[in-house]
Amino acid sequence: MLRGLQNNRCTGRETAMKKFVRAVDAFNEFFGRYVALLILPLVFVVCYEVVARKLFRSPTIWAFEVTVWLYGAHFLLGAAYTYLHDRHVRIDILSQKLPSRVQVWLSIITFVFIFVPFVGCLSYAAVMYAAHSWAGWEHSWSAWKPPLYLYKTVMPVGLILLFVQGLAKFVRDIYRLKGEEI
């Protein structure tokens, strides 16, 4: 009876972790597909500017910055999606030769000693960086003067999503050690 209860509690916690992994995966899959579509307005704005300038001789004052913002939001907000699909380039010629269990261990260790320090520190710095911009109501120095704090907010959002996706992979690896696939 007692044992059963404990087991139940245990699986309960496990389910929460599994839920977390699945939720993160699902969110980034969903979100990433929308982020991917940012390429379409990007193409549009770039071409629009050429037409406006060349055909109508009236370049916009906004196209330049909108272009840059779309590009930055595109690649940074998509970093987690790319990680989810394991597309960040890595050199696995050696690690691939190892037994699969060792590979999982290696993945866990590198997460703790490589991913967490860098992506963690960068996310933290990005939060501070964006907060600083919000505090000063920072605007661009161009004639159009868009609010930079909005664009700079893309940084912490994209990086924290990436960090959380990394955590999800970490949890999945832990389960893999126990022989379970999520």
Binding site: R57, S58, P59, I61, F64, H132, W141
Partner: protein, 369 residues
């Protein structure tokens, strides 16, 4: 107890006129040579531009004057932080020291532009008098203080060259619809004048200009424009550079790092900044002579007509007044600069006519400043 010298009455009492504030401040000050060795990391947004040499010169001067006790290591643009991030990096203390044209920090506070260059604003002489004697120094520091930095003027490159252009524009209507590249306040002003301004980044300008993506661009002083080669792909230079009667740069230092400096090194930094301010002006203006001669072989220099310059000035004034109405910091600085210009005007006018033109030119009737 009166000495005999004081007893002897002069025929006429000559009162001392003017006082060097520093003499008062430093009177009786005990100077000691600090023995701490300090290293600073410094960088700038200049890339390959010779403004970078201002920072190098300043760092060299400090190293020499301090006998190497303050070693300012100058890093290439982008080596540590990207060009435009130098401000944030020094503010945070990642870098200890930076050098730039403060117009770049327009997005932090519009008033920074007033310390960099103002259309129809101060020239080198004006900036020097206003900064050193009219409270400009304090105002600059007040502006940097909330960002955790102190700052000193550190190199003025004189008047900028006008607009490199493929279109000969000397009258007001010539500028309408012209596709130009510029930055800062002038961008807004040119837009108000009816031009189309594109804020292209530095590396894109050349190709854009050559291929007709833009009709013209302003960049900087002749010596700085020359290596960019704009004169090789455009037909005209439209003078004068009303947008920047001079281009003022400054060095900014993380406040904590500044406060940690012993007094003797603080004095050295301040003096070396002033020395750089003097040297840079002489250096660049002398280079400008050679630069405009070289460019002159490829381009035609044309002058905007007086009516157009006056129209430019009107629109600039209206723009700056609007800006001042919106931003109290801009108002404070611009009012102070305008007051100086007003106060200085009678003397500037009176002393005119004896500028150092060659004798031949003066004898031929060239009397204006």
């Amino acid at each position: 107890t009166n000495s005999s010298a004081q007893e002897k009455k002069p025929d006429k009492k000559i009162e001392k006129f003017g006082e060097d504030q520093r003499v008062k401040e430093w009177k009786g000050k005990k100077w000691t040579t600090s023995d701490k060795k300090i290293t600073w990391r410094a960088s700038d947004p200049w890339g390959g531009l010779i403004f970078h040499d201002f920072l190098v010169h300043f760092a060299d001067s400090v190293r020499a004057a301090s006998g190497g006790r303050l070693d300012i290591k100058v890093f290439q643009t982008g080596a540590i932080v990207p060009a435009m991030e130098v401000f944030d990096a020094v503010s945070k203390g990642t870098l200890d020291c930076g050098h730039a044209w403060s117009g770049y920090w327009k997005g932090k506070n519009e008033a920074f532009v007033a310390f960099a260059s103002v259309p129809f604003g101060l020239d080198v002489e004006g900036y020097n008098i206003w900064y050193y004697e009219r409270g400009g120094a304090k105002m600059l520091n007040d502006l940097y203080a909330p960002h955790n930095m102190v700052s000193f003027f550190c190199g003025n490159a004189g008047q900028e060259l006008g607009i490199h252009s493929n279109k000969k524009a000397v009258k007001m209507e010539d500028f309408k619809g012209m596709k130009l590249r510029t930055v800062g306040w002038y961008q807004d002003i040119l837009n108000l004048l009816g031009a189309n301004v594109t804020p292209l980044p530095g590396p894109e300008i050349y190709l854009a200009l050559e291929r007709g993506v833009i009709d013209g661009c302003e960049f900087s002083s002749p010596a700085i424009n020359l290596p960019q080669g704009y004169h090789e792909i455009t037909k005209y230079v439209i003078e004068p550079g009303v947008h920047q009667p001079s281009v003022q740069t400054d060095v900014f230092i993380n406040k904590k790092k500044w406060e940690e400096l012993p007094d003797d090194l603080k004095a050295i930094v301040e003096i070396c900044a002033k020395e750089t301010q003097l040297w840079a002006w002489a250096w660049i203006e002398n280079l400008n002579v050679e630069a405009i001669e070289k460019m002159g072989k490829k381009v035609e220099y044309v002058q905007m007509d007086d009516a157009t310059i006056i129209e430019f000035a009107k629109i600039s004034k209206k723009y700056l007044d609007d800006l001042a109405a919106k931003n109290p910091d801009v108002k404070k600085v611009m009012d102070s600069q305008e007051k100086f210009k007003k106060d200085f005007a009678p003397w500037r006018k009176m002393r005119g006519g004896v500028a150092p033109w060659p004798y031949e030119m003066v004898i031929d009737g060239k009397l204006y400043q």
